[in-house]
C-alpha cells in the first residue's frame, strides 16, 4: 500500500483524456517538471489544465501545449508563453483568465468543499463579464465558483512515506492548494524521508491529501530544466 512510485508512468496511470488536471507552479518555479514530462510521453488529449501559466515556450506545460494535448487552459497569466497566443488565435485552445488571487482562492474553495465565494477582485472590469455581482454590507462583490480537478500534479520539497509534505521557498505557490482540490493527487519531491522526520508543526500538506509520491527527475536550476 505504499504511495511511493518508482516509475512516472505508474504514477500517471490515473490520468485520462478529457480530464481536468491541476498543475502546480508559478511558471517553472515549483512546477512538477517530472510529471509534466511524463504527460508529454503519455497518450492523452483534450485535457483542461488549471495552472497559473502554461509553462514557457517549449518548456514545462509549454511542451504539452505544443503537442495539442490541451483543450482548455484556466490560469492568470498566459503571456509568459507566446505559443499560447498563437494557438488561441488559431482557435486551437480555449482560455479562461482569472485574477491570480481568484485562481488561488477558487482552488482553495474547491479543496474545502465550498461551492463558491464573493470577492471584490475584478468588479467593474471585463473579467466580471457574465459573473453575478452582489452587494454585501455596502460593498460590491463578484461571485466566483470553486475549482476542482480530477488529478493534481504538484511539486514539494520533501515527503515522508505517509505523504506529509513540506515545500521550498517560493516553489510553494499553488501546490498546497492543488493538493486539496483533486480526486487524485500526485506529488514529486526532492527527497523522501521516514515518518517522524518532518516536524508536525511544520508540515504544510498533511498526508491525507496525497495519493502518490515520486522522486523528481527533472529539476529547475539556474541553467534551466535539467535531468537529475
Amino acid at each position: 500500500m505504499s504511495k511511493i512510485k518508482q516509475q512516472v508512468e505508474d504514477a500517471l496511470l490515473c490520468v485520462k483524456s478529457g480530464q481536468t488536471i491541476l498543475v502546480g507552479g508559478f511558471g517553472l518555479i515549483g512546477a512538477p517538471l517530472t510529471l509534466i514530462d511524463g504527460l508529454t510521453k503519455k497518450d492523452v488529449k483534450e485535457l483542461t489544465i488549471v495552472s497559473n501559466n502554461l509553462g514557457e515556450s517549449g518548456k514545462g506545460l509549454g511542451i504539452l501545449l505544443n503537442q495539442n494535448k490541451i483543450k482548455k487552459g484556466i490560469g492568470s497569466y498566459f503571456t509568459s508563453n507566446r505559443d499560447v497566443g498563437d494557438k488561441y488565435q488559431k482557435g486551437e485552445i480555449q482560455l479562461e483568465l482569472l485574477p491570480q488571487g481568484t485562481l488561488a482562492e477558487s482552488l482553495r474553495a474547491g479543496g474545502a468543499g465550498l461551492g463558491g465565494y464573493y470577492t471584490t477582485t475584478g468588479v467593474g472590469t471585463n473579467l466580471a463579464n457574465g459573473k453575478e455581482e452582489r452587494d454585501i454590507d455596502g460593498v460590491t462583490y463578484l461571485f466566483e465558483k470553486a475549482i476542482r480537478g480530477d488529478v493534481a500534479l504538484i511539486r514539494a520539497h520533501k515527503a515522508d512515506r505517509l505523504g506529509n509534505l513540506v515545500y521550498y521557498k517560493t516553489a510553494r505557490n499553488f501546490n498546497p492548494l492543488m493538493a486539496t482540490a483533486a480526486k487524485t493527487v500526485i506529488v514529486e519531491v526532492d527527497e523522501i524521508v521516514e515518518p517522524g522526520q518532518l516536524d508536525p508543526e511544520e508540515i504544510v500538506t498533511p498526508h491525507l491529501y496525497i495519493d502518490s509520491i515520486i522522486l523528481a527527475q527533472q529539476i529547475l536550476t539556474k541553467e534551466g530544466v535539467v535531468a537529475r
Partner: protein
C-alpha cells in the same frame, strides 16, 4: 529636459522618487517593471517587501547566491531578508485582498483623470494575462502608479478616459512619472511636484487629463 537621460535612467529617477514615499513600518508590494527598481532605493529597514508569489521579506540577491526557486512576481531572483516568511498563493492573496498590504507600487499602461488605471490588456490583442494586478488594486491600502508619462509615439498616457480595459474601479492614490508627481484627491488629479528638469509647460503639454495645479 529629460531627453538627456536614458530610458533606464528615467526609470531609476522614478523609482528613487517612489522610495521617498515609503516610511516604515509598512508592507509594500512591488509590481513588475519600474516598481522592482524601488527596492534599490529603500533605506528604511521597516519597509517590508511582499511578493505575491509567496514571500514577505524580499531583498536583493547577489549574483552568486541566486536560487532558481526564490523569485519575485516577475520571476526574477531575489533574496530573503531576516524575519521573512513563505506562504502559499491563497494566503498571499488573502493578505492582499484582505487589506493587509499597506502600499502597492504598480506599473500602468494608462491612467484616467479620476485615477483609474488600465494595466492588463490592450484592445485588439489577445487578453492573455492579468496576474495579481486586479487583486492589488482592490486590496492595497494605498496604490502608487509608476509609468512613463507618454507612450513611445509621444502620446499622453494620462488621459481623460482610459481607452484600454480598466483594472479596477478604484482610483489609485498617486502617480509618479519622469515629469511629475500627481496625487488623486476626490477622484481628481492634483499636480503636487515637478520631477527634476521638468517644467509645468511640458507637463501641461504631455498630459491629456485635466488636473489641478
Amino acid at each position: 529636459m529629460s531627453t538627456q537621460l536614458s530610458k533606464q535612467e528615467l526609470q531609476h529617477l522614478i523609482a528613487k522618487r517612489v522610495a521617498k514615499e515609503l516610511k516604515g513600518p509598512c508592507t509594500v508590494n512591488l509590481g513588475i517593471g519600474i516598481p522592482t527598481l524601488v527596492a534599490e532605493y529603500l533605506d528604511d529597514d521597516q519597509v517590508y517587501l511582499h511578493t505575491e508569489n509567496g514571500l514577505l521579506g524580499v531583498m536583493d540577491v547577489e549574483e552568486d547566491k541566486i536560487d532558481p526557486n526564490l523569485v519575485n512576481a516577475g520571476k526574477l531572483p531575489v533574496g530573503e531578508a531576516i524575519g521573512s516568511s513563505f506562504f502559499n498563493s491563497a494566503d498571499s492573496f488573502a493578505m492582499i485582498r484582505g487589506g493587509h498590504v499597506d502600499v502597492a507600487i504598480l506599473g500602468a499602461l494608462q491612467v484616467d483623470e479620476r485615477g483609474i488605471i488600465a494595466n492588463w490588456a490592450v484592445p485588439g490583442k489577445n487578453i492573455m494575462g492579468v496576474g495579481g494586478a486586479m487583486d492589488l488594486l482592490v486590496g492595497a491600502k494605498k496604490v502608487i502608479v509608476t509609468m512613463n508619462h507618454t507612450s513611445k509615439d509621444g502620446q499622453s498616457k494620462i488621459l481623460k478616459e482610459c481607452t484600454y480595459p480598466i483594472t479596477s474601479t478604484r482610483s489609485v492614490d498617486m502617480i509618479i512619472t519622469e515629469l511629475a508627481v500627481f496625487k488623486v484627491e476626490d477622484k481628481q488629479l492634483k499636480l503636487v511636484e515637478l520631477m527634476p528638469g521638468a517644467s509645468i509647460e511640458e507637463v501641461r503639454e504631455k498630459t491629456e487629463a485635466n488636473f489641478i495645479e
